[in-house]
Amino acid sequence: MRVEIVLRYIGMVLIFNAVFLFISFLLALFLSEPTDIPLLYSTLIALIFGLLPIIYVQQTSYISILEGITIVVFGWITTCLVGALPYILWGGEFSIINAWFESVSGFTTTGSTILTDIEVLPKSLIFWRSSTHWIGGIGIILFTLLILPKSNTSKLTLLNTEMSKLAKADFKYRAREILRILLYVYLGLTLLETVFLTIAGMSFFDAINHSFATIATGGFSTKNISVAYFNSIPIEVIIMIFMVLSGLHFGLIFNTILGKSNNIFRSSVTRAFLIFLVVGITLVSLKLYYNGTYTWWTSVRYAAFQVISVGTTTGFATADSVGWPGFAQLILIYFTIQCAMAGSTSGGLKFDRVWIFFKAIVKHIKMIQHPRAIIMLKVGGKAIDEDIEKDTMVFIIFYLFIIFITTLLLSFLNVDLMTAFSGSVTTIGNVGPGFGEVGSMSNFSSLPDLGKFILSINMLLGRLEIFGIISLFFIKSWR
């Protein structure tokens, strides 16, 4: 493996971060906030570490798989470290572990926070916090690749590492075009949501921050009680629409805009995903209404927002779901595990895998009925390769196993079972809020430091689809 090549690409990722850190610094300067110095120094550190390898290492047109995986994994880790710098330099509630947790949560678009009071933070730091979502949403590596000269071999290797097989299935373009599509959709959605939220009555600052968090399916809000602060139906509706859009495959959104046949309306997986959301909303609304928790419309309003927020791995909140009936909580936990679609900005298990899993169950039942029959697993009329089916099953089992191990570790640290379990599920799924002490209106500050570190690793595992990290450290043969 050529370490210098890995360093060069990580350097590019750092320079990209430096740009956003510098924007935050300019904001601090404009608003005369005391965060100017921490943000400026973080910018310089990112820039200095990014520039050195670029000065020394020449551009390459070929990147091996091992180099690709190393760039992606260490790119994320380095980014999270640099992202924690402004928090560490600022202090306040940010101890070193808290700063790391907040940074990882931001970049992995999880949205879990350790902050008990967000509103006391200077606006420039809040902006940086939201920026981490936006940068992480599309994957820093993809962003950096866009500004590289045309070197399709290296781009393709990194793209293969960064994007799951399932996500690529709906992209019928070359690497460069995939990147372009992702960027167009990402920028377009962010811009649109900012405009709509501003029209709906949010301040421009809140609107842009919430747009960053929505499109990246993150969940960091500028307010302590999240979107509930605004108590506005138009704002909630706008955020819900954009949460759903951000949870869909970006390639399909792009095709829909261009009027191509392979679009959202013809995709059976998208249809199934949306049906699942509707069923979830209906069940939670009914339970909330019949339990007397809220009136019928309030039940629908809160249930719709919470289910969509969790189901798309965004993590915003308009109500405290910790006090909801057990049935409603279980439905939300199901959506926390299920996550959104492959090809979106969400992390975690992904709905496509869950859909293949359900189809595989049906296939196996049919095979029990007709042992000699040759039954193909089909999604959207297309036969799914046995390898993908097997990979999906292994992934799901491994995913659940990691949840179990993390829950076990947190329980060992005397975290109560509900907090430990929902904390594990929500972090590996890059969702954000859980239940117990880490509910939709509370935060992760009460967890022990080691627990926060374990959960931050969970977030990275969820973002990199587990096998990215695992393969880097455990696969011996790469040739």
Binding site: Y41, F49, L89, G91
Partner: protein, 253 residues
């Protein structure tokens, strides 16, 4: 890129990082020092003035009691001296408004003190008020308490602010130290990286050229150091190859 530029840029970057960290720490420490001055100048001064006002009020109270008991001379003497020290302290507080709404507190003190003063300024000795404990408790004392409460409120406001400022100082001190710590760790990492590049791009090419030359002279293999960088080492490799070629040519002819 030229070797000189690469080495210079490496050193420049690390110097930049350390110098900026130094400046940051100096800047944060100067902010810290400014906060300490503010703490002393703004809040402590008003707290001291409030204490003087309270003391003056107590002395005025004693003076009034002396007047009630019929001791005109001593009573008036105490009242005049206490009044002038009250006014002096009040002026200090009035000219040192640093907190939000502090001016309102000052106005309240001004009003309540004038009301209190209005009660004891007219003659007491030789009037119905002399020896009248009832007058003292029913009429005068509540104005005394009101003025005292207003001064105490001003003092509490400044004490709370002082407490907050002291807490902030702890945070500011941490903020001043952190760039230094970060710079130390970052410098170490940077040096590891710089060392890697030095050995990869300067030491290794030299070693490669030497071993290639050795192979060429001992095993008569062709000279190829495999330099990939586009710098002076590549030029050196080319020059050595050309030198070898010319020597061979001269030798053959």
């Amino acid at each position: 890129m030229k070797i000189k530029f690469k080495i210079l840029s490496g050193f420049t970057l690390i110097i930049l990082m350390l110098v900026i960290a130094g400046f940051m720490s100096i800047y944060e420490f100067s902010r810290l020092s400014k906060s300490v001055t503010t703490l002393i100048d703004d809040n402590y001064k008003t707290i001291e003035a409030s204490k003087t006002m309270l003391e003056a009020l107590d002395r005025e109270d004693s003076g009034i009691l002396l007047l009630i008991s019929g001791n005109w001379k001593k009573g008036r003497e105490i009242l005049d001296s206490a009044d002038s020290s009250f006014i002096a302290a009040f002026q200090i507080a009035k000219n040192n408004i640093t907190e939000t709404d502090e001016d309102k507190y000052i106005d309240l003190i001004d009003k309540s003190y004038l009301e209190f003063k209005g009660r004891w300024e007219p003659p007491i000795v030789g009037t119905v008020k002399e020896h009248s404990i009832d007058w003292y408790f029913t009429d005068l004392h509540e104005y005394f308490l009101a003025a005292k409460n207003d001064i105490q409120a001003l003092m509490t406001l400044n004490q709370a602010s002082m407490h907050q400022e002291s807490n902030d100082l702890k945070e500011k001190a941490r903020r001043a130290i952190m760039p230094g710590i970060v710079a130390m760790i970052a410098s170490l990492l940077f040096l590891v990286m710089f060392n890697f590049f030095i050995s990869r791009y300067y030491v290794k090419p030299i070693v490669d050229i030497i071993s290639s030359l050795k192979r060429h002279t001992t095993q008569t293999q062709s000279f190829d150091a495999g330099i990939v960088t586009n710098d002076e080492f590549k030029e050196l490799e080319k020059e050595i190859q050309s030198l070898i070629y010319r020597i061979k040519k001269t030798y053959q002819s």
